[in-house]
């Protein structure tokens, strides 16, 4: 009798584990970005920083801020060009997704906030935003985009972009510090 109960308990546990497994793996898959989605996030993230830099070029008179903005435009455009060339080569069409939409919605708010400022107040707000933005983008690239990327060339491009972003962060921190 005891043996029968033990056998039934084992069957029940195995059935529960089997029933739970597909749900877990589906959940893991759903949280991962596809290469097409990663391409979309990468292009959007670079475009957002270019737009902020273009605004800085219009509004700032500070040489350090203007030099930083010029560097942001050149470097992020270079990354967009490389990413575009790669997705064309791979035949991947960047796919809109929740991360891209979240980035764009936040950028819209930031641009509105920056547009309302002028003079030294703008310079400080722009430099501080660049620090915050690059920290967020570095975290996204290092912790999500690189681990999620399936294609080796896309992964390699993201890995080569990471030091560029770290340098931008260091540069932004220097500009922000000098503006205080």
């Amino acid at each position: 009798m005891k043996k029968k109960m033990l056998f039934r308990s084992c069957i029940l546990i195995i059935a529960m584990v089997v029933a739970f497994l597909p749900a877990t793996s589906q959940k893991k898959k759903a949280s991962k970005l596809s290469d097409a989605e990663i391409a979309s996030v990468a292009v959007a993230a670079n475009q957002i920083d270019i737009q902020a830099a273009q605004l800085a070029q219009q509004k700032s008179k500070n040489a350090e801020v203007l030099n930083f903005a010029k560097t942001m435009i050149a470097d992020h455009q270079s990354v967009i060009d490389k990413a575009s060339a790669l997705v064309t080569k791979l035949g991947v069409t960047p796919k809109d997704n929740a991360v891209t939409r979240h980035l764009q919605a936040n950028a819209k708010k930031t641009m509105a906030r920056l547009e309302a400022k002028s003079g030294p107040a703008f310079d400080k707000a722009y430099a501080q935003n660049e620090v915050t933005y690059h920290k967020a983008v570095i975290a996204a690239v290092d912790k999500t985009l690189i681990p999620d990327a399936q294609n080796a060339e896309l992964k390699s491009l993201l890995q080569s972009v990471s030091p560029v972003l770290h340098t931008h962060l260091e540069h932004a921190e220097m500009v922000a510090k000098n503006l205080k």
Binding site: D75, V79, V161, T167, E170, M174
Partner: protein, 137 residues
Amino acid sequence: MKTLKAGSVWLLACLAFIASCNDHKPKPDNLPHVNENPQAANSIDSSAAPAVPQPGDHRFIVEINKMKFVPDQLTVHKGDTVVWINNDLTNHCVTDTGKAWTSSTIVPGRFWTKVFTKNADYFCAIHVVMKGKIQVE
């Protein structure tokens, strides 16, 4: 007579072989000129152009890669030449911290040379946190 002729031919062949070997020996002057050939920088064999100073070598390579000058500190002799090769994703430049000289923009795949007679601290004026040093002995 035949033996002498055969010997001469063999000697000439040996000399020709030695001469051809010398032609392929890496020479510092074989490096392409700055900004002349954008593709050439990528074809430079690091074994033919060592970054670490070698006896009798008067040309040193600093590679710009992953937003760093590699090596970022270099000791050379007076009159030696340093070549900066941009193997990075973005534009860079090499500028004296006192602004006494600058390479202007070095786009990816190109390079710039300078002869050194005195010590120099330099940085990339595009990415101001990138720094390097040349020590002249």
